[in-house]
Amino acid sequence: MVSAMDAVSEPLSIEDIWIWLGEVPDPEIPVISVVDLGIVRDVAVSGGEVAITVTPTYSGCPATAVIAMEIEQALRRKGVERVKIETQLSPAWTTQWISKEGREKLRAYGIAPPVEGASCAGALKAPPDIMCPRCGSANTERVSQFGSTPCKAHYRCTDCLEPFDYFKSF
């Protein structure tokens, strides 16, 4: 039951919190938000406390701790005093959770968005065809499966000759 007291001290709406979280940038790819990235799994408000459930991208991603801190700071700036960040492992994060807007933002920033269904199954196989985010050519080649961050592979375009990052399917 929601008492009158709670109603006064709890003007927080779940929708507002999602909007605020949509303004928290990923620390390593600042053009997309933590919501675009699909790592915010749940938002709950209970008695003035906001609980945010976050799932890590890669197990050892150094951005994970920074993301938790930035979410907390963003909510505090909006006047939320009690923030709890919970980590959830399962279901495991997948690049399928990156929003449509997030994919476009990645491409505009120069990072080829993930090609779904092309995640690695552990066996030797040809890499997927990746479109160059700069000139749109499909004539690209993989330089290395491991790029500047755990989530990216290193590619180059054989038409415009530019190197670029590919956000690998995961």
């Binding site: 991603c61 690695c120 552990g122 499966q145 491991f146």
Partner: protein, 255 residues
């Protein structure tokens, strides 16, 4: 089997999985800034990072199962050699780039199979960690298989180095696929897979890649065991002396 292990096989298993990742991750991270080419330097650092991240999940589970108020960090930095449960393969020295890669490949092939099997573990916490880690292990295996083939079936120099690495490391693979009492107990209640099944699939997968790499598996090799019961090779002591220095010299230091 030590008495404590008999009482808590799940804890032993969590330590085995976590220590494998922690110790191999620590070894691999030593390449950071030293790899033969920049792309490999980045790949090695990323692999090490994934493994250390996975170690954190397993050791958090182990700390919870142990129930003595210790944290994952306590387990990583305050246990001594005999309390580590990682396989002997993980702790072998980096050697040259060929030895580092061969060690990685033999481990990745096992790790990926093991994690895939653990997706259907009856223990939800274990299945959850496996679900996260298996995707990373797939990328590790793809890279290490690719490079083992390229260097094995490469120049006479790279071929010779890869063969030497395989001859040196093969004897440490037996314990990964040989079930002990703990493995049998966990397989019986569906927590972990039957290692006999993993053995068959591991051999198939490893043979396929090594054949393509024109490398020869040593015949009738003696298999050295001990990692899972805490009987380690010399290199683990040096590794721990390095890894645990800060916590030993400045107990409780944080940053």
């Amino acid at each position: 089997m030590p008495k404590a292990a008999k009482e808590n096989p799940l804890l032993e298993f969590a330590l085995h999985m976590g220590d494998n990742c922690l110790i191999l991750g620590q070894q691999v991270s030593a390449w950071c800034g030293h790899a033969p080419v920049l792309e490999e330097d980045i790949a090695l650092a990323n692999t090490a990072l994934d493994l250390i991240g996975q170690a954190k999940f397993w050791l958090e589970l182990a700390a919870d199962l142990e129930g003595e108020g210790r944290s994952a960090d306590d387990l990583a930095f305050l246990r001594d050699v005999r309390q580590f449960r990682n396989c002997l393969l993980a702790e072998q020295p980096n050697g040259d780039f060929g030895q580092t890669l061969m060690r990685q490949f033999l481990f990745d092939a096992w790790h990926h199979l093991m994690l895939t099997a653990l997706l259907s573990s009856t223990d939800k916490r274990i299945a959850g960690i496996a679900e996260k880690a298996v995707k990373e292990a797939a990328y590790h295996l793809e890279r290490s298989s690719d490079l083992v083939v390229r260097l094995g079936d490469g120049s006479s120099e790279s071929h010779a180095r890869m063969q030497t690495a395989l001859d040196e490391l093969w004897r440490f693979t037996g314990e990964l696929i040989t079930p002990d009492d703990i493995d049998a107990a966990l397989a019986a209640n569906g927590v972990a897979p039957d290692l006999g099944d993993i053995e068959k699939r591991w051999l198939d997968s490893v043979r396929g890649v090594l054949e393509e790499a024109t490398l020869r598996i040593p015949e009738g090799a003696y298999m050295q065991e001990g990692g899972k019961t805490g009987l380690h090779s010399e290199s683990l002591g040096y590794l721990l002396a390095d890894m645990q220095f800060m916590q030993r010299a400045y107990p409780g230091a944080t940053w």
